[in-house]
Subunit: 339 residues, 2 copies
């Protein structure tokens, strides 16, 4: 039995090219005492993968050339040399793009599945937690305020907007294409969705936000954020969660044209990296799980099959083709085998 994993071979310049990553076969080592062997079910691919591929001074060290690509996995224990885990347990903790992971017991977090595993990869995983903490700790929307969420059909944006609705806001999404915008308004219940591919972004946004913008949950940057910063109200809050429009650029990336509005309108903006909130996931999980269980928050996973397609799954995000949480499926999920 062999394991396949993706290795970073060259740092991308601009868009990721074939050849930047290579799929290799490696032997699965025997387990030491205290270790478990996990057959991975899902691999998370995320915008931040692109950041990790560049040698820039980011929020954590880059993946080194020649080293495995970094990304969270969820999987089934198939061998255990620790009393806390048994074959069949579903865990997360792997951080490599690979089919099988050997984990120290302390690295593995058991999933107590009252909800489908797919929920834990998305709305109850880092993507959804980002939405929860970004709004509750930084955006702090009040009932009646207008919340704009960019990348509204994405893993985090879709959840941020739905939490905004629960909090009593007018919620306006920004997404690319009418299919996504339809999903955002009809399935997710946003009040409006602006299609940034349809042109006339500022005019669309103005119509969707007749009372200006109080909170921006920013995942995109670039023209979308410039449009938002042109329309923020006094004392608006910006959750600076991502700048995906710029991750494929070299140099200093993008700078907001309307930066001065942060001063004039006394905007507060704060960067959010979800690792800061890992210690607080346990606070948010029961709240979020209730909302999901009650159907107040829906989620969607966008699944690409097979480890060989992991780079393609990542490209989907940068091409704007994913709807919901982008995953790569590596082996059968519990939902495939339960009756």
């Amino acid at each position: 039995m062999a394991n396949r994993r993706w290795i970073l071979r060259t740092r991308p310049e601009g868009d990721i090219s074939e050849g930047d990553l290579e799929l290799i076969e490696v032997a699965i080592p025997d387990l030491d005492e205290g270790e478990i062997l996990v057959r991975n079910i899902y691999l998370s691919v995320d915008p931040t993968n692109r950041i990790w591929m560049s040698d820039i001074d980011a929020y954590m060290p880059p993946v080194e050339v020649g080293e495995p690509m970094r990304g969270r996995t969820w999987g089934t224990v198939i061998k255990s040399r620790h009393e806390g885990f048994r074959a069949g347990d579903v865990v997360t903790g792997g951080l490599i793009w690979e089919e099988y992971s050997v984990l120290r017991h302390a690295e593995a977090v058991p999933m107590n599945l009252g909800l489908p595993l797919e929920a834990f990869t998305s709305v109850l995983g880092p993507a959804g937690m980002t939405a929860f903490w970004g709004l509750s700790d930084i955006g702090k929307p009040r009932p009646g305020e207008t919340l704009v969420v960019s990348a509204a059909a994405g893993a985090t944006g879709s959840v941020a907007g739905q939490i905004g609705k629960i909090m009593g806001c007018r919620v306006v999404g920004v997404a690319g294409g009418s299919l996504k915008c339809g999903y955002v308004t009809e399935q997710l219940g946003f009040d409006a969705c602006v299609d940034h591919r349809a042109g006339n972004l500022e005019e669309q946004l103005r119509q969707a936000c007749p009372e200006g913008i109080d909170v921006d949950f920013e995942n995109v940057g670039g023209d979308v954020m410039d449009a938002v910063l042109g329309m923020v109200n006094n004392h608006a809050r910006v959750v600076l969660c991502g700048l995906i429009s710029t991750y494929n650029r070299e140099g200093d990336w993008w700078s907001p044209r309307r930066f001065r509005n942060l001063l004039f309108r006394r905007v507060s903006m704060q960067g959010l990296i979800i690792t800061d909130y890992f210690p607080r996931f346990a606070e948010a999980l029961p709240v979020m799980a209730d909302w999901v269980g009650q159907g107040r928050i829906s989620y969607r996973v966008d699944v690409v099959e097979g480890i060989t397609n992991a780079p393609r799954a990542l490209a989907r995000i940068f091409d704007g083709n994913n709807m919901g949480k982008q995953l790569v499926k590596l082996s059968p999920a519990p939902s495939d085998i339960q009756p």
Copy 2:
């Protein structure tokens, strides 16, 4: 007896030119019931004057062409038709570049001078209050942290740094020229001062901040702020108080090159306009007056004589020639006549 006041004649393009402002003579009207006549002693000139001269969507409406220039004055009541004021009282409340102001009684704030009037124009006026609230409400420095203050020899920066010292921070100023830097370290007690005119700004700043930057009290923008954003620590705070390096530019002004560091390092940044804190001045005043009285905060006014020189006083700020609070003196101050 006539009054002289400055009128905005044309909106400056770039630097302010002679002819953008015109000094005119106007009659002093008779007082209505409830009004007072004030002979102004000091006129405040501030970076924000330049913002008000441009027709941009700023934090308050611009001065209209043909209208008087806006700016705070402190003066002596010389006639009163309100029982709350008597000739000789010193008040503030005038908001026009002029020698005499007619104020409604409700517009006039009496100065209860336990300290020199100059203190109330600077450290205890809007400039010093900006420093106080910017730090206590936004920057929130903790003892041992590194605070960087740009325009460190200016009206607000000089106070912000001294408050930072009281709060137990390592305080590093940024100022232009060795004279100012000497003032900042020797008179104001900053731990270090970086001379942005001496070249090699980033290297100087790195040496002055061996443990990175935790709080940035930003008055300048441009290269200075870019250097700071390159060096901020995780969870740093930026008090976005001014962007004077860009006020003379047209269009969208400056955009920070290192914007992405706000995301990566989870920086929080908040715009500060002191008008938001007018209702809270009374909270801060006794604290600040104590510090001034105890000599823990020193202040300096930079006085240009005569209403005719008001535009020159403003130019001093943009040329970087002022040290401390820039004022125009229009008539004798209490300190001139007291024994």
